[in-house]
Symmetry: C2
Subunit: 105 residues, 2 copies
Amino acid sequence: MKADTLRGHLDALLLAVLDGRKLHGYAIIEALQLRSDGALDLPTGTVYPALRRLERAGWLASEWDVVSGRKRRTYRLTRSGEQALAAERAEWREFTTVIGGVLGT
Amino acid sequence: MKADTLRGHLDALLLAVLDGRKLHGYAIIEALQLRSDGALDLPTGTVYPALRRLERAGWLASEWDVVSGRKRRTYRLTRSGEQALAAERAEWREFTTVIGGVLGT
DNA sequence: GGCTACACATAGCCTGCCTACATGTAGCGA
DNA sequence: TCGCTACATGTAGGCAGGCTATGTGTAGCC
């Protein structure tokens, strides 16, 4: 998959992977690999800044915890994050309809 | 639709709209508007450089003609452009499968 | 004479993701 | 105990690709 195709969809991916569960950054990267059968392997330099940005936007909330001596920042969706996810999903459907319509079946 | 979502899919759109017909730049923009029910309104500063780039890549061929006093550069797919289009379509399917799979139904 | 639609083109910006690097813990094998 | 790998978070700066702004010119209408 070409690199640039992800552009504009990163937020949707991060919100979706946190839908209904709490995960820390490293686990988010692994979850995306798993859910995409290995197709998505996002670098930490992409994911961590994005998570902080989404938290600043009020869509995520985080808290530190310690598991076997390692510090983790665990993220979860806020109420408005859930709304944002719904909006992202709607936009994804529109996007695929538009582009798919032009590309043909 | 967010602006950056187009990233990485522009070539596919341009190749697809030229599949099986010859069009000049301005008509390509109109054809994309039409096929997308107005959702895609690409600026000339996006389309014209892209067309020249695709021609340099060997995927398009162009010729000048004059219609009622106006000069037009008419583009058509080359053989390797058709192959590129097929590859772009395959990549689009993969892309939607991967992202759609993460976003959920 | 001025306005709108048609038609092409380029320079430079902007943004958002990626590369590269930095830091630190835990656990295993040699 | 030394080194390696996996785990875990983070930032600075680069880069590429589409967009903004601008320029040029014709045709046709009012």
